[in-house]
């Protein structure tokens, strides 16, 4: 793309003075808002560079006056003093941050950290929607490119038609969404879910597009029907039957009681049932406290009775020999929530098989946890995550299907594995189905994104004292292509291991100064100085930082309803395709 300086945007002024943190812009227009991005066109040695400068504060000053106080003094003493043509010499001094510059090399735009400064008198250009979009899109390609759409590049009060996305390959390096109540977290989650569905639709046609699976905890049961007008259900219904079948399968909605679910949603729903024998001691250890005596007791029972350890313990009436008195009662008390839980059941049909299948085929699950206790929700997420990661861990350490099966049997409850064994072999086989058949690398399987909503109730340092599957995933998820999507109102209370492994942060409006500071410290790109910015952010506005990008991206997240209405037609893919073909002919 050849650059035409004059078409880049609105010519705003010229650089008077400047450094990394300040620009004196010569221009008459003083109507600038915090958060705006200016582009500075610089051409030296035949190299065109476009600098991006983000406004963080504004101040007027008078050109060629270096000693304002002297002039003020003169104005006071000499009552007849005037200032000739002073309006035209009022300069706008914008404090802000040089975000970096884009430069074209061999036909491709690269973005660099701000090691350089623009020239004196370089043109300052203000991007304008409807004009600058294609240029900015091209220049910032390396900073915005990816599969999963989250919103559009925001410049001050408006946004450009420059989609900002997250590359699927970075999802296993974990994403954080931070924002106070009402900042738009739920809406963003729906936008993300939609983006994943859209990606999976593309993946049907283009093998280069990765598939994305998501296990989305929905603690307020708002994703299916939406916060405002539309929900994920509307996408489901907008799809033709064929697309729905391939992209979403038979169901997408998991809930405690289907009977309590709206009829339309119920058609695509399943009840969450997890069998006791699918729970491992480790699952329980990571969600609640057990004394070491209790733990060794549990391990002993498990050694003797295998996967049926919970039933055994629940049905015991007195401490077995050699067990300190009271241990059994203590364990039973802790397991009581399982016996009362509608979802953790001794017998019946488990939904874990379906979860596994959905996650290995690139599908989206919305998990309504609104009727669960915190503990149930925590255990469910833990079991699902641990099951998925154990299977992929087994895969990762195997060369062929025979290896895999041996590894999996060591790690997973036998009856669960015997049920999914055949399916697992087909998902994981590279080719063939005998024990010698080579297996796939997890990185060639769908990305699995586990969302942890209301994260502080799970991912706080207190609960995570011991080994937790989430800590594990946060460190090693990348190997297994499993990532965490952590949604939280607070950053400051989250476990450090989780935070330090996070590589993408979507920072929405935050509640207080402490959270603002925590967010800035946690960000994967240096955004010091953005404090003011956070203070004036409105709902749906975010600053996206990522370790793999130089530029902190201000993003306007669209309202889910808007993007749904815009894209509604695309879910009936086949018909529009035919139309297009006709046009071509």
């Amino acid at each position: 793309m050849t650059l035409n300086k004059d078409e880049l945007g609105e010519h705003y002024g010229k650089v008077g003075v400047g450094n990394q943190n300040m620009l004196g812009i010569m221009g008459n227009n003083r109507d600038v808002s915090v958060g705006e991005i200016f582009m500075i066109y610089s051409c030296r040695d035949g190299h065109e560079r476009i600098f991006f400068f983000r406004v963080l504060g504004l101040q007027n000053y008078i050109r060629q006056v270096d000693d304002l106080s002297r002039i003020a003094g003169t104005m006071m003493v000499e009552s007849d003093a005037y200032l000739s043509g002073i309006e035209r010499n009022m300069l706008l001094s914008v404090d802000g941050k040089m975000l970096g510059y884009a430069e074209e090399r061999e036909g491709e735009w690269k973005f660099h950290s701000p090691r350089r400064l623009p020239d004196h008198l370089a043109d300052v250009i203000r991007p304008v929607r409807g004009q600058s979009d294609p240029y900015v899109r091209e220049m910032l390609k390396s900073q915005t490119d990816g599969e999963v759409y989250i919103g559009d590049l925001q410049i001050g009060e408006e946004s450009l038609d420059v989609p900002v996305t997250i590359p699927a390959k970075f999802l296993p390096m974990h994403v954080g969404i931070f924002g106070s109540t009402g900042s738009g977290k739920s809406n963003l989650m729906m936008v993300l879910v939609k983006a994943m569905i859209d990606t999976n639709m593309k993946a049907q046609k283009d093998p280069d597009v990765p598939k994305i699976s998501a296990f989305c905890i929905d603690p307020h049961d708002e994703f299916a029907l939406g916060v405002d007008k539309y929900g994920i259900q509307d996408i489901v219904e907008a799809m033709d039957a064929g697309t729905r079948k391939t992209v979403l399968g038979d169901f997408y909605y998991l809930t405690t009681h289907l009977a309590a679910t709206q009829r339309e949603v119920r058609r695509y729903g399943k009840e969450i049932r997890i069998l006791w024998n699918e729970i491992t001691p480790r699952d329980l250890f990571s969600i609640m406290d057990f004394t070491s005596q209790m733990a060794s007791f549990i391990e002993a029972v498990r050694g003797q009775h295998g996967e049926n350890w919970i039933s055994e313990i629940v049905n015991m009436s007195e401490d077995p020999d050699g067990t300190p008195a009271g241990t059994l009662r203590g364990v039973q008390r802790r397991l009581r929530f399982l016996t009362r839980s509608p979802i953790f059941v001794e017998s019946g049909t488990s939904v874990l098989d379906d979860i596994f299948e959905a996650m290995e085929t690139g599908r989206i699950l919305v998990v309504n946890t609104s009727l669960m206790s915190n503990r149930e929700q925590f255990l469910l997420t833990t079991i699902a995550t641990r099951t998925l990661s154990d299977l992929r861990r087994a895969l990762k350490s195997s060369g062929n299907l025979g290896d895999f099966e041996r590894q999996a049997k060591l790690r997973l409850p036998p009856s669960f594995f015997s049920r999914v064994r055949a399916k697992a072999r087909t998902f994981y086989s590279k080719s063939g189905n005998d024990d010698q058949s080579p297996v796939k690398d997890p990185r060639n399987l769908p990305v699995i994104q586990i969302t942890v909503e209301e994260a502080p109730s799970i991912l706080n340092p207190d609960l995570m004292r011991g080994e937790s599957v989430f800590k594990d995933i946060s460190r090693q998820g990348r190997k297994f292509n499993i990532g965490l999507l952590v949604v939280s109102q607070q950053v400051s209370v989250l476990d450090n291991v989780i935070l330090s492994q996070m590589n993408t942060e979507i920072n929405l409006r935050l509640g207080n100064e402490r959270e603002i500071r925590a967010c800035i410290e946690n960000a994967s790109v240096n955004i010091t100085g953005f404090e003011n910015e956070f203070r004036v952010m409105s709902r749906g506005e975010a600053i996206v930082t990522a370790s793999y990008r130089e530029l902190p991206l201000p993003v306007k997240i669209p309202l889910y309803d808007k993007v749904f209405e815009r894209d509604k037609a695309s879910y009936k893919a086949t018909r529009t395709k035919k139309k297009q073909e006709k046009h071509v002919i």
């Binding site: 030296r44 040695d45 003169t74 007849d80 003093a81 005037y82 000739s84």
Partner: protein, 431 residues
């Protein structure tokens, strides 16, 4: 060197020097000043009666100012020096009806009449014999808008001979100048200065002519200023023998003054830095007489003026300058007095009233009242705002020069001239 400078010995050297100055020069001047004191106090010095701070003039007017700047060493390529020249023209309207005093005219309007502002140009010459003169003449011809050399030289002779030489044929017939007519036909020959054309002299001449060219353009434009302010003095240096300007700029200055008179424009050349002896004593006298806060002016008469010249500059041949009338003035207690020169021909016509010193004084007061009014900008209180603005818009700062030199490097590189020594001469030592 530093350890020497910090010694007592060095102090003693300086003390001796200043004592000498005091004993010889100051004493002499003091005596001379005593002779002038009464005359200055009673005849030459007077107060400015300023307009009120919210004055609405009967007729608003336009003030123009030109200033130039430059650098004599943008780049040195072997023995070739490249000079950079700039000038800026500022036009302000008193605009008292709107209370927006000295509102700048629209840039577009100024540029439509005068060309791009500020003006920037370059010049070069080599060390080859005669090249400095050759190239200087070429550049001056390029810069100055009036191209006919006969027309360039005539205004000086008219003014200098009080009209007795009025045409080229008068000049040819003149006993004094007839023999030089052949040398008054091309710009190159107008450079009759006998001393070597050193780089600084070439640069000064280029700069002066650049300013005069800008001045001429304003006068010829439709912008119709009432005043045209120039930075510096209205000095013309005459060839010692030939008795006409030793450099083309001398002729051009008279050309500019002539046009100004025709157009009814008052030319005033203001210098903050001047060498009028005893300026500080005159200032003290003004304070003593009129008070600390007074605004005042003081004519520095020449021998031909009523009452003759002052003793204090009797032996300083350049005061007053040829064909000029200088004044000292101060509009602000904070600054040392400045100097302003007017065209003598204009002054005799518009200010001087023969045999009526009262009427002359009235004319002077009206003139200085306008000058004072245009000198109240808070940035340069006491100095004409138009000149202040012209100065800051034309000046080439250190940073400007640094960038200009970078651009030079770029261009040379692009032209594959990298081998040429583009950077300045060695700066690590200065022998």
């Amino acid at each position: 060197m530093l350890e020497k400078i910090l010694t007592k010995g060095f102090r003693r050297i300086l003390e001796a020097t200043f004592n000498d100055i005091k004993n010889q020069q100051d004493r002499r001047d003091e005596e001379e000043f005593a002779k002038d004191e009464i005359r200055i106090k009673e005849e030459l010095l007077d107060t400015v009666d300023p307009y009120s701070s919210d004055v609405v003039l009967d007729e608003d007017f336009v003030v123009a100012a030109v200033d130039g700047s430059g650098n004599s060493n943008l780049v040195t390529l072997d023995d070739i020096r490249v000079h950079l020249l700039s000038s800026s023209t500022i036009l302000l309207n008193t605009n008292s009806t709107n209370g927006q005093y000295f509102e700048p005219l629209e840039r577009e309007k100024i540029e439509a009449e005068l060309g791009e502002q500020p003006y920037l140009d370059s010049h070069w010459h080599s060390g080859v014999r005669g090249d400095a003169q050759e190239k200087l003449a070429q550049s001056l011809e390029n810069i100055y808008p009036l191209k006919d050399v006969a027309e360039i030289v005539m205004p000086f002779f008219r003014d200098f001979t009080n009209g007795s030489i009025n045409s080229t044929s008068d000049l040819g017939k003149s006993i004094e100048y007839g023999k030089y007519v052949k040398d008054l036909k091309e710009v190159k020959k107008l450079i009759s200065r006998q001393q070597l054309l050193t780089n600084p002299i070439v640069h000064d001449e280029l700069r002066t002519v650049t300013e005069l060219a800008a001045a001429r353009k304003v006068l010829e434009s439709n912008l119709n200023p009432k005043y045209l302010l120039i930075d510096g003095a209205l000095s013309v240096f005459l060839h010692f023998i030939r008795k006409y300007p030793s450099m083309p700029s001398g002729f051009m200055l008279r050309d500019v003054c002539t046009i100004a008179r025709k157009k009814g424009v008052t030319v005033a050349a203001v210098s903050k830095n001047h060498t009028i002896p005893f300026a500080h004593r005159i200032a003290k006298m003004a304070r003593d007489n009129f008070g600390d806060h007074s605004k005042w002016f003081c004519q520095l008469p020449s021998a031909e003026d009523p009452g003759g010249g002052l003793h204090i500059y009797e032996d300083r041949t350049y005061i007053p300058p040829t064909l000029a009338v200088p004044y000292l003035f101060s509009f602000s207690r904070d600054n040392r007095p400045s100097r302003v020169d007017f065209d003598r021909i204009w002054w005799k016509d518009k200010i001087l009233v023969h045999g009526d010193s009262q009427a002359t004084r009235e004319n002077e007061k009206a003139l200085f009242r306008d000058l004072e009014f245009m000198s109240r900008d808070a940035r340069w209180y006491g100095y004409p705002v138009a000149l202040g603005l012209a100065h800051i818009t034309c000046k080439l700062s250190y940073e400007d020069m640094r960038l200009a030199k970078e651009i030079v490097d770029d261009i040379l590189r692009a032209m594959n001239q990298e081998g040429r020594k583009a950077s300045a001469l060695r700066e690590d030592y200065n022998l």
